[in-house]
Each structure stands twice: as structure tokens, then as C-alpha cells.
């Protein structure tokens, strides 16, 4: 039975390489639809957890994963020689940037090599990791063909289909978020699209992997630009004695042509502070400009410093080094436990450089590593605890915190998220 027929009859077996924030929810979504999934991962720890039915991702339901593992629909391995057992291979490994904001494709290349060595005739490979336009055809394809001796379009198929997962989003998950797919040829596009249609409501086919790669980058660069733009507007508004949060609420009443974004202590997460630099890297290599990304980058860098400036202003005559500071929230956005690229870490780094000490409270992040020092969250906060600090800095606005209590009890507050709705002299906002 060829792949087209296997997909049609829903007898396809799926492989997912990389079992993190993207890979594991994908495995669950596929298996929920009765399709067998084998996960591949470099590290043994996640493999053991999955095989034991133990969940480690916030957006996955513990019981759902356990049930799928019991049913034999989900299993995992470190052994890439088992690639021949699957029909479709989704690559969902991280694509970070280095300190120079340049792409780190090592994990994609490593996964591709391991797949290539075990690639079988008739298999379909789908890259899902966000990357610059051209990666699928210029980086992945040559490795697959060279190491396997097989020919794309004839022996195997290759497509790019970006992930759009939004951690913590309760309305849109893998299954009901439309999937964009672009193959290296029309057969690859069609096979990949039909595969996704088995478990995703809407699939949108584009004419090339590069168009699909660009789609994801456009989406996240749009967010980068708009968040940075509103941050710049917040800086201006502050100097003009205008409350930017009030202005955004007012602008939101426009029923067409406007979309609200909010200021904050800087960009965070695994996508927005990363993806645009993949495009910037590629553009630079081609001698082209990405002025908006550069502008956004400058403003974002400044925001961390700006939070520290407001903190110093809030403390008045008291020095940062002498102040008792409590940071509320360190996750990169509200109600999640994810610290990746969190602006809180950058603000903390700047505070530490200035000799400030701090405690923190984050109900979602019980502890984290602050440059080698393990920091542990306060177990709880209440009026007595809050009153004890000279300054409260709200960096993440988790829903479970009682901000009215914070407002009442605090001596001074720097609120970077408009968590405290009331306006008071002791609260300084971004």
C-alpha cells in the first residue's frame, strides 16, 4: 500500500522527532485520532516519561497522554534505527538563536542526518521547526538525498509545515489551528496536507516550502514589530504624561483597522524574540535590509533597562543595593510555567549587575537557576509579606495573584503589565 492509500485509509504510522513543547502536543493530537505515533528524542529522560505515561508539558492533559500510551497509540524511543517503522516523520526540534542572534540549526541538521541514514522509499518528511525561508530546500533536502541515496519526489517526499502553538491558549490548540503546508513538489504538498487533514480541521496549501517558512516568520515578526512599537509609544506617552494603557483601551473601541498590543518589560518566549532573527540572518546574507526588525530589536533591548530605571525612580532616595525587592512573576507570559527568553531574566540580570538583591514569587515557577544560583519562589504572598518589601516589581501578571491586596499593602510598585487597574501614586507603570 503506498503512502497516499495509507493516509486515505488512516493506516499511516507517524513519527515525531523532538518531544518538547511542539512535539509532545503533536503526538497526542495525532494519536487522539487513532493514528499510531512513535516519538524520537535524543535524551532518554523524556522517552522514559512518555513510555511511562507521564506528562511534562503544560498544554497536554496528563490523563489523556497516559490513556494513549496504555492503548499503545503513543510510544517513544531514542533509537533512530526505528525510523523505518513510520510512514511520516515530523521534525519538531528547537531552532534557537545564539548570542549574536544568529540561527542555530544544529538540532535540525542532527535530526535530519539521523533520519537520512534510515530513510525508506515512500516516506514523507515534514519539517516543523521555525526557520528562515529556504532551509527545507537548501539545508534539509541535500542532507536527506546525500545520506540516503534516495531522490525526493520519486523515492521520498518533503514538506515544511510551521507550528502555530500558543502555550496557554485554551481556545486554539494543535487540532483546531489551521495548518499551512508547502512541499518541495506538488505531490509532497498534497501528501503532507492530506496527512494533517487526518487530525487538523483546516489545512492551507502554499506553493513552496519557502512560502510556508516565510508565513511563520511573518506571523511572529508582525508580533515583534507591534509589541516593540507599542513599547516605543509607551516611552513617549510616559514623557507626555499620558497613560498608554488608557489610550490602548480607547483605541480598542475602533471596530476596524486596529489590533491592540500591550507594552511590557520586553519580549519573551520561544518564538517572538527568536524567529525574526532567522529572517534577518537570511536577508543579511543576501545583502538585504530588515529595518523594522532592527528597530524592534533596539527598543526591546532598551525595555529591560527602562524597567530598572523606573524601579530606581520608584525607590527615590533609597538605593537599589539597600532596597528589599520582591519580583512578582518570572515566566515569559501570564499563567504559564515557561521561562524561555523571559524578559524577567534580563531585568533580573540588570538588577543584579547594579548590586540589587531580590526575592521572587511565581506560582507557576517554583524555582529557577539565576546564573548558577538556585532561586526559590516564596511559597505564598499576603499583606504582611508584601508590606515587608520596599518595592514590588510586577514582571508577569499571573491571574492567580490578588493585585488589589498588593496595591493596598505595598510601599511602592513598578507595574510593567498593568496588572493593577487602579491608578495610585505609589504605583509606577510602564
Amino acid at each position: 500500500m503506498d503512502l497516499k492509500e495509507k493516509i486515505k485509509q488512516k493506516k499511516v504510522v507517524a513519527g515525531v522527532v523532538g518531544m518538547g513543547y511542539v512535539g509532545l502536543p503533536l503526538m497526542v493530537e495525532i494519536a487522539k485520532n487513532g493514528i499510531k505515533v512513535l516519538g524520537f528524542n535524543r535524551g532518554q529522560e523524556k522517552v522514559d516519561k512518555v513510555n511511562a505515561g507521564t506528562n511534562y508539558i503544560q498544554d497536554v492533559a496528563d490523563e489523556e497522554l497516559a490513556e494513549l500510551v496504555r492503548k499503545g497509540l503513543v510510544s517513544a524511543t531514542c533509537d533512530f534505527s526505528r525510523i523505518p517503522e513510520v510512514d511520516v516523520i515530523c521534525i519538531a526540534v528547537p531552532t534557537p538563536i545564539n548570542n549574536q542572534k544568529e540561527p542555530e540549526l544544529d538540532l535540525v541538521i542532527d535530526a535530519t542526518k539521523k533520519i537520512a541514514k534510515n530513510l525508506q522509499k515512500g516516506q514523507l518528511v515534514i519539517l516543523k521547526s521555525t526557520t528562515y525561508p529556504g532551509t527545507t530546500e537548501e539545508v534539509v533536502l541535500p542532507i536527506l538525498e546525500k545520506e540516503s541515496g534516495l531522490k525526493v519526489g520519486k523515492d521520498f517526499y518533503l514538506a515544511f509545515a510551521p507550528e502555530r502553538i500558543d502555550p496557554g491558549n485554551e481556545k486554539y490548540g494543535t487540532g483546531n489551528t489551521p495548518k499551512v503546508v508547502g512541499g518541495v513538489d506538488s505531490k509532497s504538498t498534497k501528501l503532507a496536507a492530506d496527512f494533517f487533514r487526518l487530525f487538523i480541521t483546516e489545512v492551507f496549501e502554499v506553493s513552496s516550502p519557502a512560502a510556508a517558512e516565510m508565513t511563520k516568520i511573518l506571523e511572529n515578526t508582525f508580533r515583534l514589530i507591534n509589541i516593540s512599537f507599542i513599547n516605543e509609544m509607551a516611552l513617549l506617552a510616559d514623557k507626555m504624561n499620558i497613560d498608554i494603557w488608557e489610550v490602548i483601551e480607547a483605541a480598542k473601541t475602533k471596530p476596524f483597522g486596529f489590533m491592540p498590543f500591550y507594552p511590557g518589560p520586553g519580549l519573551g518566549g520561544h518564538c517572538i524574540p527568536v524567529d525574526p532573527y532567522y529572517l534577518a540572518y537570511k536577508a543579511k546574507k543576501m545583502g538585504l535590509k530588515t529595518s523594522f526588525i532592527d528597530t524592534a530589536s533596539d527598543i526591546d533591548d532598551f525595555m529591560h533597562q527602562y524597567v530598572v530605571e523606573i524601579a530606581e525612580k520608584a525607590l527615590g532616595k533609597k538605593l537599589l543595593t539597600e532596597a528589599k525587592i520582591l519580583i512578582l512573576g518570572v515566566a515569559y507570559k501570564k499563567d504559564i510555567n515557561d521561562l524561555r527568553e523571559s524578559p524577567a531574566l534580563k531585568v533580573i540580570e540588570l538588577l543584579s549587575k547594579k548590586g540589587a538583591n531580590y526575592d521572587y514569587y511565581d506560582p507557576h515557577v517554583p524555582n529557577f537557576n539565576d546564573n548558577g544560583v538556585k532561586k526559590t519562589s516564596l511559597e505564598k504572598i499576603d499583606s504582611d509579606i508584601i508590606r515587608n518589601y520596599d518595592l514590588i516589581i510586577i514582571l508577569t501578571d499571573h491571574s492567580s495573584v490578588d493585585y488589589e491586596m498588593v496595591l493596598k499593602a505595598a510601599n511602592k510598585v513598578v507595574d510593567t503589565r498593568n496588572a493593577i487597574k487602579e491608578r495610585a501614586e505609589k504605583v509606577l507603570k510602564i
Copy 2:
């Protein structure tokens, strides 16, 4: 009866200063709700037209205006000594920028002076013209108080309430677009808000005129930034052999966090290429940066030139000076007759500088003044006419044009609006 009571009992008489794209639709909207309106205008021509019941604005229904004039609900005058006849005075005069992209507040100042000389106790003045944060309190208020000898908050009231009119928008007009209002004191805010509630569905009160001024600028700067950003992405995509229009369609399938904007030959209209420079001017005066506006400005300036570059590329060996060129659409956006700040004019200027000659066809703009030369639109286009040109340049995508016919008949097309959906070698897109 005081103003509050007059508004409550709907016995208020409204004055509107400036009877253009904003003023006339506002007059009609007010009068439709049974409130008497007196329009004030410097020029006699519009005054005579209105008093004769003759409409001159696309978004106003001819019969509606005529009916309101017959009923005595709408009338107009050049005589500002009639200001005492009205209770509320809305200022809706143009606020353009000069060649250095600096605000031209002359018309606001002139209108304010004329109002001030005739200002009565108990009157409410509402500035609606888009301007930089601070104008109402720093420019309008001092003139009103000085020339009238009256005191704001005690003798008269003052607020800012930006216009959000979107020419050609059939869903949202003056009456059903929420109105943002900020007064110089709470009584001014309340009176202005209650006045607008007589004829506008939703009114949103903010804490100051500056917040209301900033709201309008945020809305339109958001659009400036995003249109310029997508133009920069279009430039990149072109070099990467990616179809940006396809990418935008794909990105649009994301059900959260994305809003589509489209590339084009440059910004146009009376708001987007103008309003942000009011903010930039004020920021500059305060020693602050507006990096995003500056970046957008650079890209916008480049787009006109880029259209000419594509045109030269499309012509191949044929020189611009020798080519027969037809421009389709000169209005600043589709299906309207408005030429203000139209990018077509700038593209035409660059083409002319290079010695190119052109004809044009725009069903909404029968003629216009091209640097002193009156240009007249072709009366119609058909296959024979299109075939006769070496190059068709689509600058505005009016709905009434048959683009399939254009595609079939044309020798070469530069399509800056994705008006032609089909992809063909003879069509070059932005």
C-alpha cells in the same frame, strides 16, 4: 436652560466648523437625529452647495442631505458672528503637514480665533481635527480664553474627540463608530460625551484631551507601521522568490494574534501618511525618538521608486521614454474618488521625471491636475485599448475594472495591488 439640560432634552443646537470629509458627514449624522446644525466654512462655495441641498462628499447620501436642508435641520454660513446661535461647536478643519512633514495648524488656529471672538458663556467647544498630544490644552485653550476673556470649566467647556471616519467603509460610519472623548476637566468630558451620545452608539471617555489626541495617532500610526512593515517584507520576499500575497493569505488563516496588511505603491489618504508626523514633531520637540515612524517613512518613500523600477524591469529593452503606458487607478484607495496624498501621484511624478508619458483610467477620478497639466481619464477600457499599450500599471484596484480582461489583453502588467489573482509571466507584482 443650561447646556447639560439642553443636551438631556435634545434641545441643543450644534455648530460644525469645516465642512469637508469630516464636517459634512458629521452635520448629516447630527441632523438625522433631529438636532439642528449650523455649518461654518471659510469658503462660500461649500456653504452655497449645502444651503442648496447639494451634496459634494462621497460618503453622504445626496437625498439625505437635501431632505435635512429642506426640513431646516441643516444650514451653513461663512459668518462666524453667528457662533452665538449654537450650543456646541465642533472643529473639523484639515490638519495637513508641510513638505518638511511638520504640522500645519493654521486652519485650527484660524478657526479657534474666530470662535473665540464670538464665544458665549455655557458653550462647549470640541476639537475633532487630528493633531499631536497637547494641542487642545496648549494651543486651542489659550486662544479661546485670551480672545474671549472667558474661563474654561467655569464659563465654557473644551474637549478633544478624534474623528475615525473611513472613506468608503459601508459598515462603519459616523453613527456606529465608537467615539473617544477627553475634556480639559471632568465636566467638559461629560458634556461632550453626552452630546455625542445623542447620535453615536458608543462613547468612550478618557481622562484628558491628550489621551484622546494620542488615541487617534496610535490608531493611524499602527496602520502606518504595519503597511510599511509589509512593504519591507514584500521587498525581501521578492528577492527570495517568494510570493508575498500568497504568504499573507496563508498567515491570515491563523485565528489569533495576526492581522493582515497588504503591500502597495506607498501610503495614501488624509490620515496615515500625515497623522504620525504630528506625533513625530511633538516627540522631536521634546528630544524623544520615534524610530518606528522614521523607519516607516523611509520605506514608504522607497516604494514609489520601487514601482518605477518594476515598470522598467517589465519593459525589458524598451525605454520608459518610448513606452506607451496606461495607469489604472489614481485614487488613494479602491472605490473612492479621493486623490489626497495618493501614492499614484508620487509614482507619476517619478515616471515623469524619467521622461515617461502616460494615459490613465480611473472610473472614480475623471480628471486631475498633474503639476499644472490637466489629465483626463480614458472614458472606458477594453481589450483593444489595453492591447495598444506596452505596459499597464495598476496603482489602485477599483472593483469595477475587469482584471481578467486586462490580464488577457495586456502586453505587460505591473500590479501593485494584487488585483490580478492569476500568476502569469507578463504580470510583475509588488
